[in-house]
């Protein structure tokens, strides 16, 4: 069996062992462009063709058709699809009381000719006359006040989440997480608008689920970033490096989690609405799928680079190039952290500790780090480095510069 801390030869092996060295920060523009395209397409589509609201939002037309042995829910569906009405957006129920038994059909408003044709279809199918069908308009059940209260709740939720993240982490993480979340919801809405899927109350729920999922996913990543920030507190690691290291460290977790979250939804889409034919599941599952993929994507390609960007421009400026390639890999798997490796060889340890004790200036420390990286990195990555794990090195006390 190969040593666990050797670098795996294949990309998949490296991924499995958490030895990847992907420069997420360096590719931050991809995330930005995708986000901008998402925004433009969504806004364009919303203005261009709007969004298709379902029965519960817009109201529609309703028929009460006498039910009988030869007329039930399935026959009603048949009549609707014969007239080109989407059964998925219709609501067909059997209503029963002591005195009567009817099939209540509600669909979105259709033009008069279609409505008349449907009426005739129902009359024929149920062997009643058209006059016996109770044909009426029906209002929305999701009133404006529901929307209002939901929007108000959402706004307050976002404010409190922002405050919570600012306290638990920091405000830049709050900004990044909310931007990423907004991107996901926009993306899902954009897909709905672009393909003119019908918005139902279930869709609204799906959007809310996406929102929660996106925040959750981002927070898990940020927690690792914050943890690494503490570990590297003493070695002046540039923030984009910390983000890159953290992203690579949680990459396997992100992939596993994404897989585990998406599988049931894909199954819902394929098995539930595909094979088992539960139409009402289709669009709901689709919204979830789209939103969750977007949520996974955005926490890696939007939230994290945005956080790095926010931090790197406000914090201390870095005086060297960012870690890439094998240097990054070494940092990801915990060995060869700049400033730390020096202490592994006796000579360097003396020199390094003296330097640190004197705490001269930043450029010296960076030179030290630079010289470390010119060494053979293969040495570095075989160093056992348990200390870099859950035991952060004790931060050295900062001395005031004289």
């Amino acid at each position: 069996m190969s040593r666990a801390d050797q670098i795996a030869p294949t990309a998949l092996g490296r991924l499995y062992r958490g030895q990847t060295a992907i420069d997420f920060y360096g590719r931050r523009r991809i995330g930005m462009y995708v986000a901008i395209v998402t925004l433009l397409v969504t806004v364009g589509s919303l203005f261009g063709q709007g969004i298709s609201l379902g029965l519960d939002f817009e109201g529609g037309q309703a028929w009460d058709v006498p039910a009988g042995a030869d007329f039930g829910v399935e026959e009603a569906e048949q009549v609707l699809s014969d007239n080109g009405v989407d059964v998925g957006g219709a609501r067909i129920q059997l209503r029963e009381s002591d005195s009567r038994s009817v099939i209540a059909v509600q669909i979105q408003v259709v033009d008069e000719a279609t409505a008349a044709s449907i009426s005739q279809g129902f009359a024929d199918a149920s062997s009643a006359t058209v006059d016996e069908l109770n044909f009426e308009f029906t209002s929305s059940s999701w009133g404006a006040d529901i929307t209002r209260s939901a929007v108000r709740a959402l706004v307050i939720f976002l404010i409190i989440v922002a405050i919570f993240i600012s306290i638990r982490f920091e405000w830049r993480m709050a900004v990044s997480a909310i931007v990423a979340m907004a991107n996901d919801v926009l993306f899902a809405v954009g897909v709905y608008s672009l393909f003119q899927f019908e918005i139902t109350p279930a869709t609204v729920i799906a959007f809310l689920t996406i929102l929660g999922y996106s925040l959750y996913d981002t927070i898990v990543v940020f927690d690792r970033v914050q943890e690494n920030e503490g570990k590297y507190a003493s070695v002046r690691m540039p923030y984009p490096d910390i983000v890159n290291i953290s992203m690579n460290q949680v990459l396997m977790r992100s992939i596993n989690t994404s897989f585990s979250s998406l599988l049931p939804v894909v199954s819902l889409l394929l098995v539930g609405s595909g094979f088992l034919g539960a139409v009402s599941l289709r669009e709901f599952a689709l919204a979830l799928l789209v939103g969750m993929i977007s949520g996974i994507y955005s926490s890696i390609f939007i939230a994290a680079p945005l956080l790095a960007k926010l931090r790197s421009t406000t914090g201390r400026t870095s005086r060297r190039d960012l870690l890439t390639g094998d240097d990054l890999r070494a940092a990801v798997i915990g060995a060869g952290v700049s400033g730390r490796l020096a202490s592994e060889s006796p000579d360097a340890r003396v020199a390094g500790s003296r330097k640190n004790e004197r705490a001269e200036n930043a450029s010296l420390a960076d030179e030290d780090a630079g010289s470390v990286r010119t060494r053979s990195t293969t040495d570095a990555i075989h160093q056992p480095a348990e200390r870099i794990l859950s035991h952060p090195p004790r931060p050295r006390k900062k001395k005031k510069r004289s």
Binding site: Y16, A62, L281
Partner: protein, 560 residues
């Protein structure tokens, strides 16, 4: 330490299994929503002609009222010229009719006598000897007394200039606790606002209610739909229009004919004012509403025969009646009011809120009469439920198979944890939906399927961390507790956001969004619970045991 872990593991498992079996044994399962299980439907017709706008207002009022009384996620819509109310999970048609009986109209009736109406055969006893039961008002003479609130209002509204002539109320008896009707007369708004009600409130209309008194004596629960007939009172309406009605404490009052309805109040204007104790301030609808109210108020203030003074020092009292139950009978302290009316008294906050709700709800523009109730079949139906459950289970099974393949032996914990988690969710959902009437709709079922992903994530975060630690040279035994400490921090931070979100959405929104928030909160809290009380001890114990030695976990061979 080890004993504690075993204790936690075993206790959690036992409790959850017992709760689950208990739920199964009592067939206490989560309620299913309208789309999955159907329910009952009631059609409400307006008693007189109503405009579409009125019906829309009634629709919103009814839904609000249903939600407030604990019927979750009703589907209320205007269809044609009637309103269709669909209630999830209600099977009994009588129950459905009772539940939607929320459109009762608030009536304003002057109090004629304290105890019994004249020639009342039923109640000869002196009811005033009965102690008040629920209201916090200590009422020496059983009836809340109406006092003017002029000086207290000065504090509330410093801008108020109360002209001496109007504010005069000699009955400023501080010793008497009371419900008081006072005035805020700071603003005299010209009543140029059009009255939206097209139906003038006729104040001399005789009491049309021919149904007997409907309250159960002493029933403090305002919200309960009152339509059962109390057997003790067979006929309490008198030829002269007076009726013997009970107040909320079950004490009878004789009230005169209705002289106005809740429509005199501005819609949704009643608020609880909590300065100087709790009082209710309600706006008068300018124009006819105000005129009707002032007509009544002046009768009572002047002690007219229709609204006589009940003792030497008091003024006449005006009863606010809902569904033939007197909600409050304050003394009227001013002959005329403009703009707002303030009802003060020793209300508790809850009582004040109840009264405010009643005044708000009394503002139904039209009276709605329930037609017959029908049962309705599920809209999405068993098929959808079955499909989503089958599909969800297949998805979860694949996920678990993947995790077992990936994490090998340690995935035993995932299997156990997910089982415990689903049992917990089931039990909690059954309990909560039984207690609150929130039902599981199709969206809720799929939401739970999505929650599987987030729950599995707790394990993945934990195990990935352990994998890192082990790969870098720790033993399994050493890595487990360290990893859990770090993982727990991550998990609670991320989960807490979901819980906060769920709480806010539940608190502030209505309808299906609320149901979603409830189940989101449940699944997330269950995740936290299982993670700490099951996963933690299970992994720590497994890591210490000899069981894992030589077995593969995390794709690594566990060495000792």
């Amino acid at each position: 330490m080890k004993r504690k872990l075993w204790l936690s593991l075993i206790a959690t498992t036992l409790i959850i299994i017992v709760a689950f079996v208990g739920n199964l044994a009592t067939s206490n399962t989560p309620k299913l929503g309208l789309d999955l299980q159907g329910g009952a439907s009631v059609i409400l017709e307006p008693a007189e002609d109503a405009s579409g706008e009125d019906l829309t207002i009634v629709r919103d009022l009814i839904r609000e009222e249903l939600e407030r009384t604990g019927i979750a996620e009703p589907n209320v819509r205007v269809q044609g010229s009637s309103i269709v109310v669909e209630l999830p999970g209600v099977r009994d048609q009588q129950e459905a009719l009772a539940a939607v009986d929320v459109s009762g109209i608030v009536e304003l009736r002057p109090v004629v006598a304290f105890s019994a109406c004249q020639d009342d055969p039923l109640l000869g006893g002196d009811p005033s000897s009965q102690p008040p039961t629920t209201l916090g008002v200590e009422v020496p003479q059983t009836v809340p007394e109406l006092l003017p609130v002029d000086d207290s209002l000065d504090e509330v509204d410093p801008a108020t200039d109360v002209p001496a002539t109007e504010a005069v109320d000699p009955v400023q008896d501080e010793a008497t606790p009371e419900d008081t009707v006072g005035v805020r007369r700071n603003r005299t708004v010209p009543s140029d606002e059009p009255v939206t009600s097209d139906e003038p409130v006729t104040s001399d209309e005789p009491v049309t209610s021919d149904d007997p008194v409907t309250t159960e004596v002493g029933d403090p629960d305002l919200d309960a739909p009152v339509d059962e007939i109390a057997p003790d009172f067979t006929e309490t309406t008198f030829p002269n229009g007076n009726s013997l009605l009970l107040d909320r404490e079950g004490q009878p009052l004789c009230v005169g004919p209705s002289q106005g309805t809740g429509e005199v109040f501005e819609r949704q204007s009643a608020v609880v004012d909590n300065q100087l104790g709790f009082s209710v301030v309600v706006g008068l609808r300018s124009g006819e509403g105000e005129a009707t109210w002032n007509n009544l108020a002046s009768q009572c203030f002047n002690g007219a025969p229709t609204c006589p003074r009940q003792d030497q020092s008091g003024n006449g009292q005006l009863a606010i009646v809902l569904d033939d139950v007197i909600q409050s009978a304050p003394q009227v302290n001013a002959p005329s009011f403009s703009d707002t009316v303030s009802i003060t008294g020793r209300f508790s906050q809850g009582e004040a809120e109840d009264l405010a709700n009643i005044l708000n709800r009394g503002a139904f523009p039209v009276e709605m009469v329930a037609q017959e109730s029908e049962t309705i079949s599920p809209a999405a139906g068993q098929e959808s439920l079955r499909a989503s459950i089958i599909a969800g289970l297949i998805g979860v099974a694949i996920v678990l198979a993947f995790l077992v393949a990936y994490y090998r032996w340690i995935a035993l914990v995932i299997l156990g944890g997910m089982t415990i988690w689903s049992l917990t969710v089931f039990s909690v959902a059954a309990f909560v939906s039984g207690a609150t009437n929130y039902s599981l709709s199709l969206a809720g079922v799929t939401g739970i399927i999505v929650a599987v992903g987030v729950t599995v994530d707790s394990y993945i975060v934990f195990f990935e961390r352990m994998k890192d630690e082990i790969r870098n040279g720790r033993t399994l035994k050493n890595a487990a507790p360290r990893s859990f400490t770090m993982t727990w921090r991550t998990i609670w931070s991320a989960d807490l956001i979901s819980v906060i979100g769920a709480a806010i959405l539940f608190w502030l929104s209505v309808g299906s969004v609320r149901g979603f928030a409830l189940f989101l909160g449940i699944t997330t809290l269950c995740d936290l619970f299982v993670c700490y009380f099951f996963t933690r001890p299970a992994v720590l114990l497994l890591a210490r045991s000899k069981f894992m030695i030589g077995k593969r976990a995390f794709g690594l061979e566990v060495a000792q």
